[in-house]
């Protein structure tokens, strides 16, 4: 058997997998997206994103995703710096602590927060016991942002950690040696050198946040509709697969754009650890 043939044979299961579970579903979404119930070609499904209630959901989803991404970034950067700084042996344990929750079921974790954050939930019970003012966060956009930050923070920490760990200690020392103080060194050297990690971190938080419907369902109390919820309802409740697919295609454009941006900056694949 020639070498090429062997390669082809080895690749066969993966080609099959991609065809059956990636390419075919994608085509089905595209097909449903550009046809109506009678199978006639139409762009109404895609155009219906312009309807006020859809625009509102899309805009809210983008808004909350951006807020969550920014919060994740502001929390993850110092954290990643601490992880890199404090010893190689110890930091792997610390890194583990952040990856560990990811091993638990995503739904389960979010439902746990539902119970914790409820008006009669665990947190309020503790606050009540301590005679502190109660919080009313459940079923608000704030709770959704909270859920997003909680669930997606590790996706921001890891690429940042990877790109920070790559910086040669002597590059930082060189900047100090040339007269830069700590603040100048951070903004002129550390931050620019971690742009690939920042970009992939942003993509890895922004994309799932933009499309989520589970977090908004559980922590937003189904009152706050994100674009993900609208699409989900078209599939599971209204049974209008055509409209759901059309809206999905619109959402896909946003995802592809952020993927391209991330790919341009992250040539070294800082995010590829995940």
């Amino acid at each position: 058997m020639s070498k090429n043939k062997t390669k082809l044979m080895l690749g066969l299961p993966y080609y099959f997998w991609s065809a059956a579970f990636v390419i075919l579903p994608l085509f089905m979404v595209v097909y449903y997206g550009i046809t109506d119930k009678n199978g006639a070609l139409t762009f109404n499904n895609i155009a219906s994103i312009a309807k006020p209630e859809h625009i509102k959901s899309l805009w809210l989803a983008i808004e909350l995703s951006i807020v969550s991404t920014v919060i994740c970034f502001l929390m993850a950067y110092p954290l990643a710096m601490i992880l890199v700084k404090y010893g190689k042996g110890r930091s792997s344990v610390l890194v583990m602590l952040f990856i560990l929750p990811m091993w638990m079921n995503f739904l389960l974790r979010t439902m746990a927060w539902q119970t914790l954050l409820e008006n009669n939930g665990v947190i309020n019970a503790i606050l009540k016991f301590l005679r502190l003012p109660l919080i009313h966060i459940i079923n608000t956009p704030g709770a959704i942002v909270f859920g997003m930050v909680y669930n997606f923070l590790p996706f921001m920490v890891l690429p940042l950690y990877n790109s920070l760990a790559k910086i040669d200690e002597n590059v930082i020392n060189a900047a100090r040696d040339l007269g830069a103080n700590n603040v100048q060194t951070f903004f002129k050297i550390t931050l620019p050198l971690t742009i690939p990690g920042i970009m992939s971190g942003i993509t890895m938080v922004f994309v799932p946040a933009l499309t989520t419907f589970v977090i908004s369902n559980l922590l937003g109390g189904a009152k706050i509709l994100l674009i993900g919820n609208v699409i989900e309802q078209e599939f599971s409740q209204t049974n209008n697969w055509h409209l759901g697919s059309g809206l999905s295609l619109v959402l896909m454009i946003f995802i592809v754009i952020s993927m391209i941006i991330s790919a341009i900056f992250d040539k070294d694949g800082e995010g590829s650890l995940l």
Binding site: D168, N170, V171, N173, A174, A175, R176, D177, L178, G179, A180, N181, Q184, K188, I189, P192, L193, I195
Partner: protein, 358 residues
């Protein structure tokens, strides 16, 4: 004395309970090319990092021009460092790299532009302003690292094994380049290396270090020709270190034969170490030699032949000679008196790291 630019006084430093530097005292004079030489783990890089301000000593004081700078952060010191593996800013162009320190100091644009031109000319890389570091070879990157340091007009340039990552030919070229730079700039160079040849080629003063102690300080000639202990003799070049008995001043007995030498003051009938460089061992006809032995090994090295001559007591002498003596032949060995270097025997194993103060 005003010529002592840097004075390290009783410096002690340990990491995780392991002592890296033990009560080290060292002067560095203005305009000298001083090399810290030693095997890895001897404390030479730590010494450099203490001078640069990247480590603080546990005990001791660092004086710069008479002022105490022990606790001063690196960005406030009047010296610059050239790091191992260059440490260039990969997200900046060559010009931006060189301008970094000057921009921080708030120099005018025309001043900075002039300096970039001057520095690139000095390291023979004119016209590289807009290249990115990753497009340069290792040797070129190292020159940029030097240019980036010297535009700040430091009083002292610290170099941490700057040629370690380069191949042999390039390393030799860069050695000449560094000597030229030092002479043109007229500043003090403190150079760290484990390469004894590099140290001998470039330095005015060599500080041989081992296990956190200074073994010997001196000019390259002095270090090579008159090593003070077995460690220095062994580390600087190849050498034959044999047991000897100092019969009296200027007379030493080696393997039962008495050799005239030039050293005195070791006492009478005292066991000593004798160092003889391989190129100082002369091979002659067996009947003309002070010792006789058999050639047991022969390699052609280009400039000379490297031979091993085994004497009847089993010692293998390392010999460098331009004359070839084939394996198996019996030869005589002679050594001229001034080529015999006598050293005190270390009193214990620790004494191999004996603290020698100038």
């Amino acid at each position: 004395m005003s010529s002592e630019l840097i004075y390290l006084k009783n410096i002690t430093k340990s990491f995780d309970g392991q002592t890296v530097l033990d009560d080290l005292t060292l002067y560095i004079k203005e305009n000298e090319f001083l090399t810290l030489l030693g095997p890895s783990g001897c404390g030479k890089t730590t010494t450099l990092r203490i001078i640069g301000g990247f480590e603080e000593p546990d005990k001791g004081v660092v004086l710069f021009d008479g002022k105490d700078i022990t606790a001063l952060p690196p960005n406030k010191r009047q010296l610059n460092t050239v790091f191992q593996k260059y440490a260039l800013f990969t997200h900046m162009t060559i010009a931006e790299n060189i301008a970094f320190g000057l921009k921080i100091k708030g120099k005018t644009k025309s001043y900075i532009d002039d300096k970039i031109k001057y520095a690139l000319k000095l390291v023979n890389l004119d016209g590289y302003e807009n290249r990115m570091p990753s497009t340069l070879s290792g040797g070129q990157q190292q020159r940029i690292a030097i240019a980036r340091a010297i535009v700040n007009e430091p009083k002292v340039l610290l170099l941490d094994e700057p040629l370690g990552a380069l191949d042999l030919k390039l390393r030799q070229d860069m050695q000449y380049e560094l000597i030229r730079l030092k002479n043109e700039l007229g500043i003090t160079f403190v150079y760290v290396t484990h390469d004894q040849e590099e140290a001998l080629t470039m330095s005015d003063t060599i500080v041989v270090m081992n296990q956190g102690y200074i073994q010997q300080i001196g000019s390259p000639e002095k270090i090579y020709n008159e090593p003070e202990n077995a460690f220095v003799a062994d580390f600087i070049g190849d050498s034959n270190i044999v047991d000897g008995l100092m019969i009296q001043d200027e007379l030493v007995e080696i393997f039962g034969t008495r050799f005239a030498c030039v050293d005195k003051g070791f006492g009478n009938n005292k066991p000593v170490d004798v160092v003889i460089r391989p190129e100082d061992v002369e091979l002659v006809d067996p009947d003309k030699g002070q010792l006789t032995g058999t050639v047991t090994h022969l390699i052609f090295k280009g400039v000379h032949y490297e031979m091993e001559v085994t004497t009847p007591n089993g010692y293998e002498w390392l010999v460098h000679s331009t004359t070839c003596f084939p394996v198996g032949i019996e030869v005589g060995i002679t050594v001229k008196p001034f080529n015999i270097q006598i050293m005190n025997k270390p009193a214990s194993e620790d004494e191999e790291a004996v603290h020698v103060e100038e």
